[in-house]
């Protein structure tokens, strides 16, 4: 099935560590207790045999681990981080064996990876070392891809080392006698912790670890994280604030200086460069020579649909690439993904078009060149992608940035500076996620059952729930036992029952089954599998897209054109189609926002752009040279200056104009998407107080737009000082009620807390009677239980994770100091174009629904 990698490192000699006879004549005595030095010598010898030199951070990690420390290792992809931790874990097993004749049962080490696509590489790394050291050590994988048969076999006898995902770990906690499996666990390693940290899967990990700390006697917890702004906090979240594990922990930084070179792909003819768009296909021909001149290339796209399109077009225009270029994204069938990953390693592929599915990854993938198509929306992510090239330590990494529209060229030069200064963003951890807590408590009730007095201290020692009050805890217990109500004669609520001795358990098999199926749903939408009518699995796809398809529609998927035939249960049945073009599935991949640092760099770049188009200003600022990007942008700047301005440091630009769509007002704070979401909603709300009006609001990283069927009285906006910092939070909260942001957050919350049942990929579940949209639920809670913690969570999450209160205040302060320049334009300007054409919008209205309907009808 899976062939081990052929690496270029020659082996010098073979040593059988298990029996202790080395070829060089040295003898390691395994009959006595091995001390730390002996263990470390084994690792060093093995490294020497691979012709490798261990890095300082690797040796430091081995040392600290063997001292019994917990910790966080900050090391980039491709640095050898996998061996930093696999090595001491295996060594410890060796040591334990040397102490006892018989080895202990059950899991010894668990390795958590956020992407199951990575598990194979991690397994290989583990096996490579473990097999040489002690062939008896067994390594296994358990993810959503693992066949049922193998899972059952694992249940009977767990491997020593298990590679798994956060969801699969939760599933293990939901099986009977899980505590036995984890009793002899020495270590949990959470790989790519920065990816999990800012998500609810991170919270799942915090809770799982809080339990493992109690059931495993000799547990050490380690995280591995790429560079992010809040590394110290990342360690605290992983280990739990003020816990013994945190007190006994270290932060190790790899500090491998990697040279990264950023190169923009600049269009030859700027006139033809579009003002908007996100696909970047017009620059396809510029990419071809880059691919041809490189041994291997990864093309990173931002969404799966973009990935599909790029692959398709590349094959269409350059058929000579057939067989040399492949595609990789999270919805593609596992076998194909594995094949592609293997081919990257073997260098049998020239290029791979991919999404974030190849963002992470372990060592030795020898890619020479990286191309980023469209804004990466984050410096950390950009750096990480750049790091996928020149994987061998010391080599320079080259990343080409391909802008998808004119404004992104400004971003390109800002990114270059960000890379130099390493202006990476924070990952904000979640607090008080009641949905995940309710899910976790049900999980424990499903497996062994739990006693609240035992679990409460564990939960409240985590970072997420450090502020959990006794009342909130009681509320959660009540929620899972009586559905939040005081017992009622008519009520038949069934989930968790309390036994006589106070143990919380699930006795109903249906409840247990549905809960297990739902655990995986924390990450994704309802997912359907795509299959040919005659059989043959192609991949999986979100239900959202399928719901828009009619019989006979053709869509592009996994690089093929497929005709939709029918939906059968959780299966999308298709046949091949000869039609050239088709719809492209849109996947819900999250929209990201610029960090504060990146926004600042972008603003600075904008000021330089203003100077580049104005010789006087350039002289004043002492700017003599123009970057390639800004030179290329001059035609666009000239067009912008026809009717408007390029704002300088002291100016805040507002443009208004009318099109067939209605009256547009576009504002440019350059503060990143999330701040603009908040500012846009806030301003729309305040304007709507002046007179009844309805808005459609759009945002991007540069600014936001308020669109209405009535003209906005901008003079009144300015006269009333609607950018005021006063009552910001109060107004914002009210605007949230008026828009749908919190409502959308509630979707995930309802699924995770088990309020709506979504079914599960590839499993036909008779759940039709249990389907209701989370939107309906949101309304029911608003009308009948507005104090419900899950309902309130939708609002706090919007505030904390989307609106970034602090940044909003700073932005408002800055606007207060700036001169407002209001330009009444005849036509949309180049700056406004990407915003006004954005179709994902918020709405806000202060009109009566009946009045709105009548006005909408009038425009018919």
């Amino acid at each position: 099935m899976y062939k081990p990698i052929k690496d270029s490192f020659p082996k010098i000699g073979k040593m059988d560590f298990a029996t202790g006879a080395a070829e060089d004549g040295r003898v390691i005595n395994t009959n006595q207790n091995m001390n730390k030095k002996q263990l470390l010598d084994i690792a060093k010898t093995w490294f020497a045999q691979q012709d490798w030199k261990a890095f300082k951070f690797q040796k430091d990690t081995w040392q600290e681990y063997l001292k019994g420390k917990n910790g966080l290792l900050n090391a980039p992809t491709g640095s050898g981080k996998t061996y930093a931790l696999w090595v001491p874990i295996v060594l410890e097993i060796l040591q334990q064996k040397s102490r006892k004749k018989k080895s202990a049962k059950g899991l010894k080490g668990v390795w958590i990876t956020p992407l199951r696509a990575l598990s194979v590489e991690i397994e290989q790394a583990a096996n490579r070392f473990a097999q040489d050291i002690d062939p008896q050590i067994r390594v296994g994988i358990r993810t959503g891809d693992t066949p049922q048969k193998e899972r059952a076999a694992q249940k009977r006898k767990m491997p020593d080392l298990l590679i798994t995902t956060p969801e699969s770990l939760q599933l293990l906690l939901s099986s009977k006698n899980y505590d036995e499996q984890f009793k002899n666990l020495n270590a949990v390693v959470v790989d790519e912790w920065h990816e999990l940290l800012g998500s609810k899967r991170g919270v799942q990990m915090e809770l799982a670890l809080s339990r493992l700390k109690a059931v495993s006697n000799n547990l050490k917890i380690w995280g591995i994280s790429a560079t992010i702004g809040n590394l110290e906090q990342a360690r605290e979240v992983l280990l739990g604030p003020q816990t013994p594990q945190f007190e006994n922990s270290v932060l190790i930084k790899a500090n491998l200086k990697k040279k990264i070179k950023v190169q923009s792909v600049i269009p030859k003819k700027m006139e033809k460069f579009p003002w908007r768009g996100h696909l970047g296909l017009h620059l396809l021909d510029e990419v071809v020579p880059i691919i041809k001149n490189s041994r291997s290339t990864l093309l990173f796209t931002n969404t799966r649909s973009q990935c599909e399109l790029w692959f398709q077009k590349l094959m269409e225009k350059h058929p000579e690439f057939a067989g040399e270029v492949a595609m990789h994204h999270g919805s593609i069938h596992k076998e194909t993904r594995l094949w592609v990953e293997q081919a990257i390693r073997n260098e049998t592929l020239k290029a791979v078009v991919c999404t974030s599915s190849l963002d992470l990854g372990v060592d030795f993938a020898p890619v020479e060149t990286i191309i980023q198509i469209g804004s990466p929306k984050g410096v950390a992510r950009f750096l990480q992608r750049a790091g996928r090239s020149g994987h061998q330590p010391g080599k320079q990494s080259v990343i080409h940035f391909l802008p998808t529209h004119a404004m992104e060229l400004i971003e390109a030069s800002a990114l270059q500076k960000a890379v130099k200064t390493q202006a990476v963003e924070d990952r904000v951890p979640y607090l008080q996620s009641f949905d995940v807590l309710l899910q976790y408590l049900t999980t424990l009730a499903v497996s062994n059952g739990f006693y609240p007095e035992e679990i409460y201290p564990e939960v409240s020692a985590t970072f997420c729930y450090q502020a959990l009050t006794q009342e909130q805890w009681e509320w959660c217990l009540k929620f899972i036992t009586t559905g939040g109500e005081t017992l009622h004669t008519y009520d038949e609520y069934q989930k968790v029952t309390v036994e006589e001795d106070g143990k919380f358990t699930v006795t109903n098999r249906g409840v247990a089954m549905r809960h297990r199926l739902q655990i995986g749903a924390i990450v994704s939408d309802a997912v359907l599998s795509v299959k040919y009518i005659k059989g043959g699995f192609i991949g999986s796809i979100e239900e959202f897209f399928v719901s828009k398809l009619k019989r006979g529609d053709v869509f592009m998927f996994a690089g093929r054109n497929l005709e939709f035939v029918r939906l059968k249960g959780m299966q999308v049945q298709v046949r091949k189609s000869k039609k050239k073009t088709g719809k492209v599935p849109s996947w819900a991949g999250g929209r990201m926002s610029f960090s504060a640092q990146m926004s600042e760099l972008l603003r600075e770049e904008m000021y330089i752009a203003a100077a580049s188009a104005d010789p006087d200003l350039a002289k004043e600022l002492g700017i003599t040279t123009k970057s390639l990007e800004l030179t290329a942008l001059q035609p666009i700047f000239q067009r912008q200056l026809l009717e408007s301005i390029i704002p300088t440091k002291n100016e805040f630009l507002i443009e208004t104009f009318k099109t067939r769509e209605g009256y547009h007002a576009v504002f440019y704070p350059f503060e990143g998407r999330f701040v603009h979401e908040a500012l846009g909603s806030l301003l729309a709300y305040r304007i709507s107080l002046l007179s009844p009006i309805s808005f459609s609001i759009a945002f991007n990283d540069y600014g936001f737009e308020l669109l209405s069927d009535q003209e906005i009285d901008m003079q009144q906006v300015l006269d009333n000082n609607l950018f005021s910092n006063e009552f910001v939070m109060d107004d914002l909260y009210k605007s949230l009620n008026a828009t749908e942001m919190a409502r959308r957050k509630f979707r995930d919350i309802a699924v995770i807390a088990g309020l709506v049942f979504t079914g599960y990929p590839n499993k036909l579940v008779k759940s039709k009677h249990l389907q209701a949209s989370s939107q309906l639920l949101f309304d029911v809670f608003r009308d009948y239980e507005p104090e419900n913690l899950l309902f309130l969570q939708a609002f706090t999450e919007t505030f904390e994770h989307q609106l970034e209160e602090g940044r909003l205040r700073l932005a408002l302060e800055r606007i207060q100091r700036q001169k407002i320049v209001w330009k009444k334009c005849e036509k949309p300007t180049p700056f406004s174009f990407p915003i006004i054409t954005d179709r994902l919008r918020e709405k806000l209205s202060s009109e009566k629904l009946e009045d709105r309907i009548k006005r909408m009808i009038k425009s018919f």
Binding site: Y490, D491, R841
Partner: protein
């Protein structure tokens, strides 16, 4: 809003019911009682108080029209028998009007439960030129009034405005009633020359004019 169908006057009520004036018949489709209790029974903690909403709405329309007969056009009960039936029983006992249920696909509760409450069960009702059913049907010489679809309409206007509303959906020989139940979804339908769409707000029924 008064609407004339086959020379008979009907009142379309914002709650989604239609009242046949000359016959004193109240037509109600897709109430989906029991849905909330069903969810709770399966471990989804929908607030129990929300159960009462449907009964409040029912009381309101009955008080307004004081009908002689109430015809439920199917899907009166969402699921298997559950505790919400007790609320329904109480409601039935307070009614003066004759109650008839035209059985829908969701009505899987044993007919005896309804019969014990004095509710007549029918597959369909032919009344003069009208054919009352749960599923939409076409029959020569009849005007069909039905439910099942949960019709909704997305209204669009200037400035990229849009609103999703439940609606009465009328074609030449058919009227589909909106779902009455509060905890139900909508199925969006398209406007064309051959249909009329009457959207419901809390307080009004509004006819959407044809696009010019």
């Amino acid at each position: 809003m008064k609407v004339n169908l086959q020379q008979e006057n009907f009142i379309f009520d914002p709650s989604g019911v239609a009242y046949w004036e000359s016959k004193g018949i109240l037509l109600i489709a897709d109430v989906h009682l029991g849905k909330i209790a069903h969810f709770r029974k399966h471990g989804s903690a929908v607030p129990q108080k929300a159960i009462l909403k449907n009964f409040e709405q029912l009381k309101k329309v009955v008080d307004t029209y004081q009908p002689e007969k109430i015809y439920f056009l199917g899907d009166l009960f969402h699921s298997a028998y559950n505790s919400e039936f007790a609320y329904f029983k109480t409601w039935v006992q307070e009614q003066q009007a004759d109650l008839v249920l035209i059985v829908g696909n969701h009505d899987i509760i044993s007919p005896t439960h309804f019969k014990n409450l004095g509710i007549a069960l029918k597959e369909e009702i032919c009344l003069e030129r009208f054919l009352l059913t749960h599923h939409p049907e076409e029959r020569e010489g009849f005007f069909n009034i039905c439910g099942h679809i949960h019709p909704g309409f997305r209204l669009r206007g200037m400035g990229r405005q849009h609103e999703k509303l439940s609606c009465f959906f009328k074609t030449k020989h058919q009227l589909i009633l909106p779902a009455f139940g509060t905890f139900t979804g909508k199925y969006l339908l398209q406007q064309s020359k051959n249909n009329q769409i009457y959207v419901c707000t809390e307080t009004e029924v509004i006819l959407i004019p044809q696009k010019s």
